[in-house]
Each structure stands twice: as structure tokens, then as C-alpha cells.
Amino acid sequence: MENVKDKDLQYIIGNLLRWGVWTSLGIAFIGGLIYLSRHGQEVVYYPKFVETDRDMLTILKEMLQGIGAGRGRDIILLGIMLLFATPISRVLFSLVGFILEKDRLYVCITLIVLMIIFISVRGGLG
């Protein structure tokens, strides 16, 4: 019985990963085309790296405003965000799977992993 559930979970997670990657890259590609059509003829300018310190909410808010304004770079960023969400949702699906299997040990282990990811989303305690 446990084995059957493991198989289902494998199937769901396999598809989740595949669709997650292709959807995010598709969006990033569309964003890239828009970016290039607007800025393709400009001269490349990436100044020396300057560290920023923006929290995730600000980044998301600015990204949504940028997408509203049709900015290609923000559409690419949306694709990147979805790519980040892919492995995280894989962990969430595993959590559901372990809960259904009543595997308490692995429910705990999965929660620890999620907590660490949450800490890094919050800027890594910094």
C-alpha cells in the first residue's frame, strides 16, 4: 500500500518539476524577447556589482508594477521566481505525501527543510 502511494507521489513530483521548468523558461523567454525589442540596440552596461539589500516583498511588488508597465526584465524575473517556486513546491508536495503516508519522522524532516528555506527567503537572518 505504502509503495503505491510512493509511486503516485513520484509521478506527481516528476510532472511538477517538468512543467515548472518549462513554464518558467517560457515566461523568461517571452520577457527576453520584449526586453530585446525595447533595448536590443542599446549599449551593454553592467556597472561593477553593487550589493543591494531588498526584501522579498519589495522585490515582488516592484516586479508586479514592472510587469504592469510591460517591462521585459520584470517578466524575465517572474519566470525566475516561478523557477524558484518549482523545487519549493516539490518539497510541499512531499510534505503532503508524507502526511498521507502517516510518516511522522519525514513530516518533521520536511518541515525542517521548509523552515530553512523560509529563513533564506527572509534574507537569511541578515
Partner: protein, 277 residues
């Protein structure tokens, strides 16, 4: 150089990096960083950010197939992800304070180590019984082979776990998947069968890289204009590499690329040591 030309060059370079990374088994991230920083003169911070994003894409993409075939051990992966994600967050935080030339030198050293390691002969082994701790943590499993289902156990859980923390730190610090170290932790230390080790390592990379990538994003390392051609290029290159690997086992090609990568790594160490990066 216009943005269009720059993007096309990045795409071509990333495609090559994905192809070489896949043929050698090193992963695209580890090849793209020296390519971007040594040849194209892109600030290593942006190179690391783009490489991390491409690691998430390629590892998730290839993990999908192995998970569905039932080769990946999701429990072992999840347990060891505690170690790699903690390491990854620590590594990403270290990256923001570590001097750039030190990162370049360390990167070169890891690259040479990985290239040498990829040429090593792999012994096939299956552990029959697990150690008590491994049994308690359910770190055993089975996977399908041509000769039927093979059951395996694991041992040295603590040693493997510690090695995974190191792998995570390097992944977060250098923006790589650190597959070589992950496989050493599982295959050599925990004695997990090689095929399960490599596929589970791949499976873990997505979460590990994401843990550090979100820190990188907030620190401004991730530039959409650089990431887009790099991620798409690396993924397509890796897919081409996987096609070639199905048809042939490129022993000589592997040696050739290992030499190329070692030279690239030496150049990076030189640039780092002389303060040019």
C-alpha cells in the same frame, strides 16, 4: 557591444557550457561561471547568480525523469537536504562578505577537483544491510535495473550528513550544484549505489540552489538580462548533451573536456590570485 549581440554571445556560451557540463557530468553551472567571468569579463557576482538559476533549471529538468522512473530516493534526498540547505544559506551569506579574488581561487580549485573526480572509475557496490541509525531514519530503498529490482542499505549517516553541509556551503558560496561532493557523500561515504547517488544528488540540487538563490536575489546578484540567455542556453545545451550520452559513451571527449576545464580553472585561479577578478 549592443544588448542584442551581448545576449546572443551569452546564449551561445551558455549552450556550450550546458553541453560540456552534461557530457562531463560536472553540470552546467560550474562551466558557465569561468566562461562568463574569464572570457566575457562579467562581474563574478552576476556570473554566480546566473549560474545558480541555471542549476535550478537543469537539475529540476533532469530530476523529473529519474523521479518518475523511481531511481531517486526521495527520503534520503529530503533528509540530506537539511544539511545542504543549511550549508547553502551559510554559503550565500559568506559570499556577500568573502573577497572576490578568494572566491575565484576557491572556485578554480573546486573545478579542478571536480574535473579530476569525473574521470575516476566508479566501482559498483550495493550495501545489503543498513547501519542502526540509517535504519531508524529509513535511509534505504530499492531501484529498478535491467536485472530486476535491487534493494540497498546505507551507513555512515553522520559522515555523509557533514559532507553534505560542506557541499551546501560551496554551492551557496560559488553558485554551483556541487554534484561531485554530493555524490562523494552518498556514494563513497554512505555507500549508496552510484546510480541512486547521482540521481538523488541531482534531485537535491534544485532545493539547495533555491535556498541560496533567494538570498542572492535580495542582494542584487541576479540580473534578469544576464540570466535569461544563460538559463535557456545551459538547459538546451544540457538536453543536447543528454541526447549524445544516450547514443554513445564519450570517454575521449570526457578526457578532452576535463583538460579544457582544468585550464579554465587555472586561468581563474591566476586571475583571482593576481587580483584581476
Amino acid at each position: 557591444m549592443t544588448v542584442l549581440v551581448f545576449t546572443l554571445i551569452l546564449f551561445a556560451g551558455a549552450y556550450a557550457a550546458g553541453l560540456i557540463g552534461s557530457l562531463t557530468g560536472l553540470g552546467g553551472g560550474v562551466v558557465i561561471i569561468p566562461l562568463l567571468s574569464v572570457f566575457l569579463g562579467i562581474d563574478i557576482h552576476y556570473a554566480i547568480g546566473a549560474a545558480l538559476v541555471s542549476v535550478i533549471a537543469t537539475s529540476s529538468g533532469s530530476a523529473a525523469a529519474y523521479v518518475r522512473e523511481g531511481i531517486t530516493n526521495m527520503r534520503i534526498g529530503m533528509f540530506l537536504e537539511i544539511a545542504t540547505t543549511v550549508g547553502a544559506v551559510v554559503g550565500a551569506l559568506l559570499a556577500t562578505v568573502a573577497p572576490t579574488h578568494l572566491i575565484a581561487v576557491l572556485f578554480g580549485a573546486i573545478l579542478i577537483f571536480s574535473a579530476m573526480n569525473s574521470l575516476r572509475k566508479k566501482d559498483v557496490h550495493v550495501l545489503e544491510t543498513s547501519s542502526p541509525l540509517a535504519t531508524k531514519l529509513k535511509l534505504y530503498g530499492s531501484y529498478p535495473t535491467a536485472q530486476g529490482t535491487v534493494h540497498y542499505g546505507t551507513k555512515n549517516v553522520i559522515g555523509g550528513f557533514l559532507m553534505m553541509i560542506v557541499a551546501g556551503v560551496l554551492s551557496g558560496l560559488l553558485g554551483i550544484g556541487s554534484g561531485a561532493l554530493k555524490v562523494i557523500a552518498m556514494d563513497n561515504i554512505m555507500r549508496i549505489p552510484f546510480k541512486v547517488s547521482t540521481t538523488t544528488s541531482n534531485f537535491m540540487m534544485g532545493v539547495t540552489a533555491t535556498a541560496s538563490a533567494v538570498v542572492y536575489l535580495q542582494r542584487g546578484y541576479i540580473q534578469p538580462g544576464i540570466c535569461m540567455p544563460v538559463v535557456i542556453g545551459v538547459l538546451l545545451g544540457a538536453l543536447t548533451g543528454a541526447r549524445i550520452l544516450i547514443r554513445s559513451s564519450p570517454g575521449k571527449l570526457k578526457l578532452f573536456f576535463a583538460i579544457v576545464i582544468t585550464l579554465l580553472a587555472l586561468q581563474m585561479i591566476y586571475n583571482g590570485a593576481t587580483g584581476r577578478i
